[in-house]
Structure formats: structure tokens, C-alpha cells
């Protein structure tokens, strides 16, 4: 075993996946479709969001192909408008919002807290079914001609000026939104009420803190999106005039209602990813996270401040100068907690013992790309520069850096990190490290040129553009091809590993955290006896004693066997 890895696997010739685990507990499709087990629901989610991710990715591919040439020549402009709209809707509502919470959060939060399940298992299952219904409605929309309003449903365009499937898309988002609300509700209740004895708030892993903050946003923000969609539906069908200036309504009201959710939504998307990064960086530097309290509170601070910055999406829409001052100032304030996290993670590396397995590579990628993405957010929160940069490709690049370079990298880090726990098997290390590097390179090639395009003034949502922008667009499309390969590889080798991966054992990463003290894959009830938490989070000294104790026990047993024999 190389000294540059912390992986510690059991002897492969004798190791077996434990016979009784949550996967083998019951067989048959119904036992999965009617399960209350949070781990099974997590896997149901994983399969569905992967499916929708690739649909959204295919749509992205179509966008980049069209943008190879300045003319709108690959597809009709109407079609292009539908493609980018569906890309946004699918990626945001069917992939990014549920990705980490509904898969990793669902799987891990009860275990990390020492509980046997989430507080409301039936609501958890309902949440998945709502997601599936939302997803089916989106598929229906795509098949029946798509919708071309942009994922932002701007009125009056969406209420009076398009004749595409606004209603079915709105319904899909409405239903998927309730899926999100129920997931967040479940998490908050579980974290408040189902921690095991000894598990104080400040002994919880930072992964849980991050999900707590994201859940607050899910629970409080999503209903406002729901009502905004209801209003658009009513305006579109009945023609009530709530957003129609000729009837006294105000189209800007929709903007306020929409962004009141959609800004916190971006924190819903990123906070769980930040939770993953805390866990990964800690494990692969063998150190507690630097400044645990600061990281925990910064998650909550992002959630709270995140509710008060929505109008920074509306700086040039005719809001008053004074409103601009308030929202720009608050935007600067919300940027600070993210910076705090980045520095805390950096200093977690200080005097650690660092190894570079795949999750750590993705985590490093996250740190670099999220820093860039976050800093470009400052360009946009500064109202003076926002005037020039808003509604251009600068915005597109900014949010792809934080969402794809940040969130998606964190998701992949988490999937690889907890893959042995979920499946009992290790993924193949070399090819996964290659995939991480390929993804990083592809990502930068795809999205960095878009910052330049935006500064040059290229508007977003353009099917055709002036010829001088072509070179950068070609670069971007080339990068997207590489990026696609980087995303395809994990699907292939992770599937392969289900059958041929090495047996992982309980704790292949030598990590702290309750999830690593139980078998892989876990039992349905997670714990045979409810644990008592008697040490801090990321307590590597406790882990050492644990290992020593186990070692002593084994030596003891070996001695007894020897003495008897």
C-alpha cells in the first residue's frame, strides 16, 4: 500500500459485502417503490437525477453546437429558445436543487445524527414521487413542443406573448417545488428532534449544518415561487391583469416574487455542496475543519442574508436608486461568509497530512472554481459594473462557475467519497482521478471564454451573434466536448464498480463520523443500538483510540484462539 493514500481496505481474498444490508433486506420492485428507508429513497433519487442530468446535458450540447457559428443555422431560432429554456428548467429544478440534499443528504443525515431514519419517512417517499411527477411533466413539455420563455418565466412574455407550454412547465416546477419543501422540512425536523444522546448542535458534522441552512431556504423560499407560478397561470388563462400594465398591474411584481425565491435557490443549491467539501477536506488532510464554529455559522449567515438580496437581479429594471443601495450592500455582506469558508478550508490543510484521492481532487477543483465564480459575483453585486455585465455571457459564466464548477464538483466529490459506504465497493481510483482532471480542464475551456464574451457585450440567450464573437464561442464548445467526456466517465466506471469494485469495509478512508463506524452498505435500521456521541466532530484522536482499541481487541481474540488451540 502506497504511503500516499489513506485508503485502508480489508483483505480482498476474505472480505465480503455483509449479507444483511439495506439493499438485500427486501427484494422486488414494490419494496423499493413503497419503501420508507431513507437510504433506498436516496438511491431512487440518485437514479432519477442522473437521468435528468443527462437530458439537461444533451440540451447543453445542442446549445453549444448551435453557437459554433454566428448564424442561427443549426436549428430554428424558436427551437433554440426552447432548448435553452428546457436546459435551465431541467438543470435547476430537476438536478441542482435536489442533487446533494436528496441523494447524499437523505442517505447520510440520519446516520450522521445517530438516528434510524429521517423524522418523516412517508413524507420522504412522497417527496420523491412529487419529484418524479414533476420530471414526467417536464418530459411531457419537451415532447409536446417545449416552452420558450427562458427558465425565468418573465412576464408579460410568459403570460401573453408565447403560445408554448407554459402551463405544463409551471405545473412541473410547482410540483417539484413541493418535493423540495418536504425534503427541507424533513431535514429540519430530523436535525432538531432526532439527534442521538450526546449529539449536541456543535458536535454535528458540518455536512449537517450546511443542509440545515439549505433546508431553511427550501422551506421558506419555495412557497413564494409556488404562488408566483400560480399567478402566472391565472394571468395566462383567465387574464386577470395582475402583471398587465394596461389593467393596472405591474410586471415588476412578478420579478420581485420570482427572485425572492430564485436567489435563495442558488444558496439551496450550493450550501449542501459546501457541506460535502467540509467532510472531504477534513478526511483527506486528517484534520478537524479549521474554525468549525465559523464554518457552521457562516452557513446559517448565508441562508439568512440570502433572503435579502434578491433585487440584485433587477438593478437595471427600474428599481429606485435607494433600493439599489440596500440590495447592493446586502449582496456584499452575503459574499463574506463564502469567503470565510474558503479560507477555513484552506487552513484545514495547514499542518495536515494530505492525500489526493479522487474526492480530494474534486474538492480542490471546487475551491478554485467556486472562488472564481464567487468573485465574479462581486462584479455583479457592484451596481456600477453590473450595468455593463448584466444580461450578458458574464452572467452565464458566473453562474456556471458556481453551479457547475462549484456545486457539480462537490456533488461528484461526495458521490465518490460515500460510494464505498452506499455500495460497499470502491470505485477505481486511477480512472476516476483522470476523470476529475478531464472535467476540470474541460470546464475551464468551456466557461472561462464566456467571461470575456460577456465583457465584450455578447448578450445571453442569443441564437445568432456578431461574427467577432465566434472564436471564443468555438473555444467554449470545444471545452464542452471535453467536459462531456469528464461527466460520462463516472457513470461508466461507477456502474462497473458495482460488480467489480474492491470490497470497501466499514471505513476505507479512516474517517471520523458515525457513518464510517457502521457496515458498508448499512443495515436498514442503520444502527443495532443507538450510539451515544461522546466526542467532538472530526475527532481524529478519538479515532486513533478507537483503532487502537479495535486492534487490541483483535489481538486479544487472536491470543485467545491461539491459547485454546
Amino acid at each position: 500500500m502506497s504511503t500516499n493514500t489513506i485508503v485502508s481496505l480489508p483483505d480482498q481474498s476474505t472480505a465480503r459485502i455483509p449479507k444483511t444490508n439495506f439493499i438485500t433486506k427486501e427484494n422486488g420492485l414494490l419494496s423499493w417503490l413503497l419503501t420508507g428507508d431513507h437510504k433506498r429513497i436516496a438511491i431512487l433519487y440518485l437514479i432519477s437525477i442522473t437521468f435528468f442530468f443527462f437530458i439537461g446535458g444533451a440540451l447543453a450540447g445542442l446549445i453549444r453546437l448551435e453557437l459554433l457559428t454566428p448564424q442561427s443555422d443549426l436549428m430554428a431560432t424558436d427551437t433554440y429558445n426552447k432548448v435553452f429554456t428546457m436546459h435551465g428548467v431541467v438543470m435547476i429544478f430537476l438536478f441542482l436543487v435536489p442533487s446533494v440534499p436528496a441523494t447524499l443528504g437523505n442517505f447520510l443525515i440520519p446516520i450522521m445524527l445517530g438516528a434510524k431514519d429521517l423524522a418523516l419517512p412517508k413524507i420522504n417517499l412522497l417527496s420523491w414521487y412529487l419529484y418524479v411527477v414533476g420530471g414526467i411533466l417536464v418530459l411531457y413539455t419537451m415532447i409536446s413542443g417545449g416552452v420558450d420563455t427562458g427558465w425565468t418565466f418573465t412576464t408579460p412574455l410568459s403570460t401573453h406573448y408565447v403560445n408554448t407550454n407554459v402551463m405544463s412547465t409551471g405545473l412541473a416546477v410547482f410540483i417539484a417545488g413541493f418535493s423540495s419543501i418536504f425534503t427541507g422540512l424533513n431535514f429540519i425536523v430530523t436535525i432538531h428532534k432526532m439527534r442521538c444522546p450526546g449529539m449536541t448542535w456543535f458536535r454535528m458534522p458540518l455536512f449537517v449544518w450546511a443542509h440545515y441552512a439549505a433546508s431553511i431556504l427550501m422551506v421558506l423560499g419555495t412557497p413564494v415561487l409556488a404562488i408566483a407560478i400560480v399567478l402566472v397561470a391565472l394571468e395566462r388563462t383567465v387574464g386577470i391583469g395582475v402583471f398587465d400594465p394596461t389593467k393596472g398591474g405591474d410586471p415588476l411584481l412578478f420579478q420581485h416574487l420570482f427572485w425572492f425565491y430564485s436567489h435563495p435557490a442558488v444558496y439551496i443549491m450550493i450550501l449542501p455542496g459546501m457541506g460535502v467539501i467540509s467532510e472531504v477536506i477534513s478526511t483527506f488532510s486528517r484534520k478537524r475543519v479549521f474554525g468549525y464554529t465559523a464554518v457552521a455559522f457562516s452557513s446559517v449567515a448565508i441562508a439568512v442574508f440570502g433572503f435579502f438580496v434578491w433585487a440584485h437581479h433587477m438593478f437595471i429594471m427600474g428599481i429606485s436608486n435607494y433600493a439599489m443601495l440596500v440590495f447592493s450592500l446586502l449582496t456584499m455582506l452575503v459574499a463574506v461568509p463564502s469567503a470565510i469558508k474558503i479560507f477555513n478550508w484552506t487552513f484545514t490543510l495547514y499542518k495536515g497530512s494530505i492525500t489526493f484521492e479522487t474526492p480530494m481532487l474534486y474538492a480542490f477543483g471546487f475551491m478554485g472554481l467556486f472562488t472564481i465564480g464567487g468573485l465574479t459575483g462581486v462584479f455583479l453585486g457592484t451596481s456600477g459594473t453590473d450595468i455593463h455585465l448584466t444580461e450578458t455571457y458574464f452572467i452565464v459564466a458566473h453562474f456556471h462557475f458556481v453551479m457547475v464548477g462549484g456545486m457539480l464538483m462537490a456533488f461528484l466529490a461526495g458521490i465518490h467519497f460515500w460510494w464505498p459506504k452506499i455500495t460497499g465497493r470502491m470505485y477505481p481510483e486511477k480512472i476516476s482521478q483522470l476523470a476529475a482532471v478531464v472535467t476540470f480542464i474541460g470546464f475551464n475551456f468551456t466557461f472561462f471564454p464566456q467571461f470575456i464574451l460577456g465583457t465584450l457585450g455578447m448578450p445571453r440567450r442569443y441564437a445568432a451573434y456578431p461574427p467577432e464573437f465566434q472564436v471564443l464561442n468555438v473555444f467554449s464548445t470545444a471545452g464542452a466536448t471535453i467536459l462531456g467526456v469528464g461527466y460520462l466517465l463516472p457513470v461508466l466506471y461507477l456502474t462497473w464498480s458495482l460488480k467489480y469494485g474492491e470490497i470497501a469495509g466499514n471505513n476505507p478512508w479512516q474517517a471520523t463520523g458515525l457513518e464510517w463506524q457502521i457496515q458498508s452498505p448499512p443495515l436498514t435500521e442503520n444502527f443495532t443500538t443507538i450510539p451515544i456521541m461522546d466526542h467532538e466532530a472530526y475527532d481524529y484522536e478519538w479515532l486513533e483510540n478507537q483503532t487502537l482499541t479495535n486492534q487490541n481487541l483483535e489481538n486479544q481474540k487472536a491470543k485467545e484462539v491461539a491459547s485454546v488451540g
Partner: protein, 256 residues
């Protein structure tokens, strides 16, 4: 700080095995350590859900606030079209139903089965009465062409004398056409807010129906009261929303 008692469970396999312990009633889900934890948890979950409902209605209240501020005369005149008798009646009906619901919760907690069933039935009936009154009010609006988007008419505002009942009571002055057009916004908000409220009432009544059946079978009077308690919370919430809607929609400047 721990919220769970340190009861250690053995491996809880099938439900059907009789336990004999008091702390293992059949309704205790096996991911909870105790009945107290289960009750506490589901109660907290319901409060949180009601918070999301507040945010949901909040969007409509925001729209109301803004448009009432912009088009006050139109809102006043349009609100005169609402029948304050029915509105007050409905308020009384709902408050009474909240009372009967609270009594029902008490009956469940003190294991009075027949009392519980009676209270639930009363609440159910009162809920239906509310919806009945709402139907009367809505049909009045339909007759007068005050439903936005469906041949909406501003006649009653540009020419108040054409609506003798309301004119007798309020003696409104004729309103210029551009302000009269904004009454449509008021009615949209009226239908959206009371309609959303009525939808929640319908859901509540349906659950009440289910509960009456289960209560007669004794499901809630053997110690497992959380369902009734949590539903009570929901019902009280729906009542409180109405208590806000009533003055905002019916009582805009009645003395003018």
C-alpha cells in the same frame, strides 16, 4: 443537549410481535425512541409546514398590499360589493369550528371517544356551512359579472345607481373609467385569496371525514392523539388566515 431519551431498542423487526412493554405501543414508528419523541417530532413538523403555508399566502398578501396602496378608491368601491352579512357569518362559523376542533382535541386527549366523534362531526358540518356560504357569495359575483376575465363589467362602479342594493347602502359616486378598471384587480385578489383559502378548507374537510371514520373505530382515544392535535393546528391556521382575509377584503373603509 439531547432531545431523545436514552431508550435502547433491540432490533425491531416485524410489527406484529407483541411486546408487552407500555413504551412500545403499536403506533410507535420504529425509528423513534419513544412516544414522546414521536409526538414532539410530528408536532414540530406541522408547525414548520404551517410556516411554509404562511410564505405561500404571503405572496398574495404582498400583491394585495401593493395594489391596494396604488388603487385605493377602486378597492373601496369594489369592497362595497361584498356582502358583509355573509362575511361576518362565515367568520362566526369558522371561529366556532375552531372551538369545536379544540374541544375535539381535548376529547382525544382525555379519551372521550363519543365526545371526539361529536366534535369532529360538528367541525365538519361547520366547514361545509362555510363553503356553502362561500358558494352563495361566489354565485352573486358571477351574476353581477364581477369575475375577472369572464366578461368582467365595471358598470357597477362607473354608474353606481345601476346597482340599487349597494347604492342604497353606500351611495358611492360614479368612478372614472380608468380607476374603475382597477376594480378587476381587487376581484382577482378576492377570488385568488378566498379561493386558495377555500381549497385549504376543502382539503381540511376531506381529512376530517377520514378522521371521523377512524375516531369511531377508536384510533385516537387510546393515547395516540398526535394526528388529531396536528390536524387541529392546521385547522386553526386556516381559521387565522380567514381572520386576516375578512377585514382586508370586506372591511375596507366601510364608513365612507
Amino acid at each position: 443537549m439531547s432531545d431523545s431519551t436514552a431508550t435502547v431498542n433491540g432490533a425491531p423487526e416485524a410489527h406484529g410481535i407483541p411486546h408487552g412493554h407500555e413504551e412500545h405501543p403499536a403506533y410507535l414508528r420504529h425509528h423513534f425512541a419513544s412516544v414522546e419523541q414521536q409526538a414532539d417530532t410530528t408536532n414540530f413538523a406541522m408547525w414548520l409546514f404551517l410556516l411554509t403555508e404562511i410564505m405561500f399566502f404571503g405572496g398574495l398578501f404582498t400583491a394585495y398590499l401593493i395594489y391596494r396602496n396604488w388603487y385605493y378608491p377602486a378597492f373601496v368601491a369594489a369592497s362595497h360589493q361584498l356582502n358583509i352579512f355573509w362575511g361576518t357569518a362565515n367568520t362566526g362559523v369558522l371561529i366556532s369550528s375552531s372551538f369545536t376542533m379544540a374541544m375535539g382535541v381535548w376529547c382525544a386527549e382525555t379519551r372521550r371517544k363519543s365526545g371526539l366523534v361529536l366534535c369532529l362531526v360538528l367541525t365538519f358540518v361547520l366547514g361545509l356551512v362555510f363553503l356553502g356560504i362561500k358558494t352563495i357569495e361566489y354565485s352573486e359575483k358571477v351574476e353581477k359579472h364581477h369575475v375577472p376575465g369572464f366578461h368582467y363589467s365595471v358598470q357597477a362602479f362607473t354608474n353606481p345607481a345601476s346597482d340599487p342594493e349597494t347604492y342604497k347602502e353606500y351611495k358611492d359616486k360614479p368612478m372614472p373609467l380608468d380607476m374603475a378598471r382597477h376594480t378587476e384587480l381587487y376581484f382577482f385578489l378576492y377570488f385568488a385569496m378566498t379561493g386558495m383559502h377555500a381549497l385549504h378548507m376543502i382539503i381540511g374537510i376531506a381529512i376530517l371525514g377520514f378522521m371521523i371514520f377512524r375516531a369511531r373505530a377508536g384510533a385516537y382515544t387510546t393515547g395516540h392523539v398526535t394526528f388529531v392535535e396536528n390536524f387541529g393546528l392546521y385547522w386553526h391556521f386556516v381559521d387565522i388566515v380567514w381572520i386576516f382575509l375578512f377585514p382586508l377584503l370586506y372591511l375596507i373603509s366601510r364608513h365612507q
